[in-house]
Amino acid sequence: MKNTLRELRAERGWTQADLSEQLGVSRQTINAIETGKYDPSLPLAFRIAALFGRPIEAIFHPDGS
C-alpha cells in the first residue's frame, strides 16, 4: 500500500518523532509506514486520518492506483 504520510507530515512541519508522539507509536513505525515497509492496522490508519482531518482513502492507496 502506498501513502502520502510523508507529504502530509512535511506540510505541517512535523518530524517523524513529532508524529509518532501524537499517534502513540514509535518513530520506527512512522518511518516504516512512510517507506511502505509496513501497512498500519485499521485503528492506526483511522488515527492517522483523524489527525490529518482526511478520509483514509485520501492518505492510503492500494499499490498501482
Binding site: A17, E21, V25, Q28, T29, A32, K37, P40
Partner: protein, 137 residues
C-alpha cells in the same frame, strides 16, 4: 529532529532492560543446567534430585512471565509484528531442526538432550528478530 520524548525514551530503556534481562536469564539457564548436572551426578539417589533437575526452568519461567506484559504494553503494533515474526521463525526453525536431527539420530548421530531446546529457540529468536527488522525497518 526533535529530541525523543520522555515516554519514548522510557519505553526504549525498558525494552533494553528486558533484552539484557533475557540474555542474563539465558546465561543463568545454561549455568544452572551445568550446576544441576553436577549436583545430580554427585547425588544420584537423593530424594530432592527432581527439584534440582527442574531448577534451570526457573529463569525460563521468569522470562516467559515477563514476556507477556512486555509484548502487550511496551511494544507498539510494528514492534509486536516484528516479535511475532521472530517467535514464529524460532518456533518453526526449532521444529524443523528437531525433526531433521531426530531422523539423523536414526542414522547414528549422537542424541541431544531436550534441555538445550531453550538455547536453540532463543538463538533462532535472535536471528528471526534480526531478519524481521531488516525486512520491516
Amino acid at each position: 529532529m526533535t529530541p525523543e520524548s520522555t515516554v519514548q525514551a522510557g519505553r526504549r530503556a525498558t525494552m533494553r532492560r528486558f533484552r539484557y534481562g533475557f540474555i542474563i536469564a539465558t546465561l543463568a539457564y545454561v549455568g544452572l543446567v551445568h550446576l544441576s548436572d553436577f549436583v545430580l551426578d554427585a547425588n544420584p539417589g537423593a530424594s530432592w534430585r527432581y527439584a534440582i533437575a527442574v531448577l534451570p526452568a526457573v529463569p525460563v519461567a521468569v522470562c516467559v512471565v515477563a514476556l507477556v506484559p512486555y509484548y502487550h504494553h511496551l511494544l507498539d503494533e510494528l514492534q509486536q509484528r516484528i516479535q511475532l515474526e521472530a517467535i514464529a521463525f524460532a518456533f518453526l526453525g526449532a521444529l524443523i531442526i528437531a525433526f531433521v536431527y531426530g531422523l539423523l539420530e536414526l542414522a547414528g548421530l549422537p542424541g541431544i538432550a531436550w534441555k538445550w531446546a531453550w538455547v536453540l529457540m532463543v538463538a533462532l529468536w535472535v536471528i528471526g528478530d534480526w531478519l524481521a527488522r531488516r525486512r520491516r525497518l
